[in-house]
């Protein structure tokens, strides 16, 4: 292209670009997220659909890395004065965001200021409870939620002579021993997310507190107390079974989930969000079942708690920008859109209407695995111990708790010592956090 042609083309583009753009300026809404693979496509599609549905606002999604990376990017950007409008933060970052009062705009306030129709009761309480104040004011907008379920390799269970899917922990231990005898020498059962499974979900599911003040939901002066006899007994069982690999530890995160997909571990506890991966990798008949419980524990099973992430609105933006964010949230809450999102991604629907619609459509009859986490979350009316949890410094605290679980499994500490130490170290971190979060 000659320079003259180029100049002409540029001029044309400018003229036509000008002609088709609306008379008023489009307000851009920056959305930083941590979604990869199929879920990244979903995020981009949502933004496209929203942008096409109206002409005042343009949502611009940007991928910022994993959950901790995205949170750190948001924090760093805020310090530099260039925060996005919407920041996706995983559930353990909730206390960090909440305590940053000047840095965020609570969602209930946002919706009220913008005059958008907003009924907090329309959302599933098991999900919004996590992101609301004790008064019920919603602080962030739930986006992708999951819970922990037990994934079952039905073929292998049948081969090992386990007729029924185990419901309680003793049944799981028995099944695991049979599986081991039937050739699963390196893994009878296992779980991803060491601390999420064995401390956080375990406590909620058995209706025992992780910490005081409703697991921190009612105040940052919470004190950890998950070194109860029940917790110790469970860890003791795992330690015993680890010795001959009836139970085999799979690490702090979910990088070892493929032990289920490869057929090595026939019973594996991990996120319900593992569904899409299981579907594409497992060459056997699989399903998901609710997490096991100890039958002698009073009130078990209670209800599970969620994982996943929510959308936080950052502070210091203009009223017009907030209006756009509010409209985007209304757009996301639409029943049909939520139902579709749930069925495509495997994440939970956030509104009651979307859940009912999916049920009515008969979707769960064909895909019962997707209903397991919902059944767990809504199993009973949430209590102080199962509404959720909110601990400052939780991102790092999980590592500390996992460290102690590892020490017990490796035989360096007794289960009681390990849990006592996890509680003590966690409390020290909570006190540091409390001092900074005023």
């Amino acid at each position: 292209m000659s320079l003259r042609q180029f100049a002409a083309a540029a001029a044309m583009t400018a003229i036509f670009g000008f002609a088709v753009s609306p008379a008023h300026a489009v307000t851009e809404i920056q959305w930083w997220h941590a979604m990869t693979g199929g879920n990244n496509d979903i995020v981009n599609k949502l933004a496209e659909e929203f942008n096409a549905s109206q002409s005042d606002y343009k949502v611009v999604p940007t991928f910022k890395g994993g959950y901790p990376d995205t949170l750190n990017a948001g924090i760093a950007a805020f310090r530099a004065g260039t925060a996005p409008h919407i920041l996706q933060v995983f559930e353990v970052g909730t206390a960090t965001m909440m305590s940053a009062k000047g840095a965020i705009k609570p969602v209930y306030e946002l919706m009220k200021d913008a005059g958008e129709p907003f009924d907090p009761k329309a959302y599933l309480p098991a999900i919004t409870g996590y992101y609301s104040t004790s008064k019920g004011d919603m602080l962030s907008f739930p986006f992708n939620s999951s819970s922990m379920v037990m994934w079952i390799n039905k073929d292998e269970l049948k081969k090992a002579g386990v007729a029924e899917i185990p419901k309680t922990w003793p049944e799981v231990f028995d099944a695991a021993k049979k599986l081991k005898a039937a050739g699963h020498e390196t893994c009878g059962f296992s779980n991803a997310w060491a601390s999420w499974a064995n401390i956080e979900q375990f406590s909620a599911w058995h209706n025992v507190p992780i910490g005081t003040k409703a697991n921190g939901l009612d105040g940052f002066d919470t004190v950890l107390e998950f070194n109860t006899p029940l917790h110790v007994k469970h860890l003791q069982n795992l330690v015993e079974l680890q010795k001959d690999k009836t139970y085999d530890y799979s690490g702090r995160d979910n990088r070892s989930e493929s032990r289920f997909g490869s057929g090595e571990c026939a019973i594996f506890l991990t996120s319900s969000g593992y569904y899409a991966t299981a579907k594409s990798t497992a060459k056997f008949d699989f399903t998901s079942a609710p997490m096991p419980y100890y039958p002698d524990a009073q009130g078990a099973p209670q209800n599970s708690i969620i994982g996943g992430a929510s959308l936080w609105v950052m502070g210091g933006k203009t009223a017009d920008e907030y209006k756009g964010v509010a409209r985007f949230f209304t757009f996301l809450s639409d029943t049909n859109r939520q139902a579709k999102l749930h069925q495509e991604s495997g994440y939970l629907p956030i509104t009651k209407a979307a859940y009912e619609k999916t049920k009515a459509d008969g979707f769960y009859d064909k895909n019962p695995t997707l209903q397991t986490p919902l059944k767990e979350l809504t199993n009973k009316e949430p209590t102080e111990n199962s509404r959720g949890l909110r601990f400052g410094n939780m991102v790092q605290m999980r590592d500390v708790w996992s460290e102690e679980i590892e020490a017990a499994l490796a035989g360096k500490k007794t289960p009681k010592e390990a849990l006592d130490s996890a509680v003590a170290r966690g409390n020290a971190m909570l006190r540091t956090f409390e001092k900074t979060a005023k």
């Binding site: 924090i75 390196t186 690490g251 490869s262 410094n393």
Partner: protein, 293 residues
């Protein structure tokens, strides 16, 4: 008549020095002073409120038993990585320096790992030696060796040391090779004529002549192992199991980035900085005497 040119004024030399000085000031002194200042503050992650707390961060740090564990682990980790990466690289370089068929291919391949980002190197090693998924861990286990870096601290340490060494060997190899090629062939040949065997020639001629390179690499490697290995540790073990691969620099990263405790993290990096400055000073004071330029 005066023939030599005399530069009057001091402007030009300072002007010529300016870029280098600016870089040192902006990229070293400024962040270092920031870290020192921050180590006296207690601040939330967002920087919304910060408070001067004096030495409180240091007191809290030295009251943590985990910190002393981390110091011990750092000593083990850094000695292993430094010695192994220098030793292995020297061995490879002396072998590559011989007249080999396809020697340049070999040399090129040796340098590759240096171009791999630490996090990617970490993930590679994580999967290769994953107790059940790993392609190299499986044969180990098949032979009856219970390899399990997820629960066995010693295995985890071996794994991060291997990953850190693997990345650094390439760099060291490059410098050793260049150093070897700069040694005049005539000196070695003279030794050979005098009847010295290959080992003797290596220890009495090559190794002393290589000492400036070795000394330089020693300093660089210690800096590497103290400051740059947290990416590998994060990807391979996240400091686990049970803190057995949590080195001092990984703890700086974990407390500051994952924990949002910037003051505590800054205090740790100041301690780390002091240690490395001291180590470097010792090296220049005592080790450098043995270097023959």
């Amino acid at each position: 008549m005066e023939k030599s040119v005399v530069f009057n004024g001091k402007l030009l030399p300072y002007l010529l020095l300016a870029p280098q000085l600016a870089i040192t000031l902006i990229f070293f002194y400024w962040p270092a002073s920031q870290a020192i200042w921050q180590s006296f503050l207690r601040e939330d992650a967002f920087g919304l409120n910060s408070e001067f707390v004096g030495l409180e961060n240091y007191q809290a740090l030295f009251a943590q038993p985990e910190y002393y564990t981390a110091i011990g682990i750092t000593v083990v980790f850094s000695s292993l990585v430094t010695v192994l990466s220098l030793g292995v690289a020297l061995l490879f370089a002396t072998q590559a320096d011989k007249n080999l068929k396809g020697g340049s291919v070999y040399k090129t391949l040796m340098i590759w790992p240096y171009a791999v980002a630490p996090a990617i190197a970490g993930v590679l090693w994580f999967f290769i030696f994953h107790p059940t998924l790993g392609t190299l861990a499986r044969p180990l286990r098949a032979m009856g060796f219970d390899w399990n870096p997820m629960l066995n601290g010693t295995h985890a340490m071996i794994l991060v040391v291997m990953a850190a060494v693997w990345k650094q060997v390439a760099y060291n190899f490059l410098f050793f090779l260049a150093g070897l090629q700069a040694i005049p062939k005539s000196v070695i040949e003279a030794g050979a004529i005098d009847g010295a065997g290959p080992l003797r020639r290596f220890w009495t001629i090559i190794f002393p002549l290589l000492s400036p390179t070795t000394f330089f690499l020693l300093v660089v490697n210690i800096v590497y192992v103290f400051f740059e290995t947290f990416g590998i540790i994060d990807a391979v073990t996240s400091g686990g199991p049970a803190g057995s691969t949590t080195t001092m620099v990984y703890k700086v990263f974990a407390d500051g980035r994952l924990g949002g405790d910037l003051g505590g993290s800054a205090a740790q990096s100041v301690v780390l900085m002091v240690i490395v400055i001291a180590l470097t000073a010792i090296q220049f004071r005592y080790v450098e005497r043995k270097v023959q330029y």
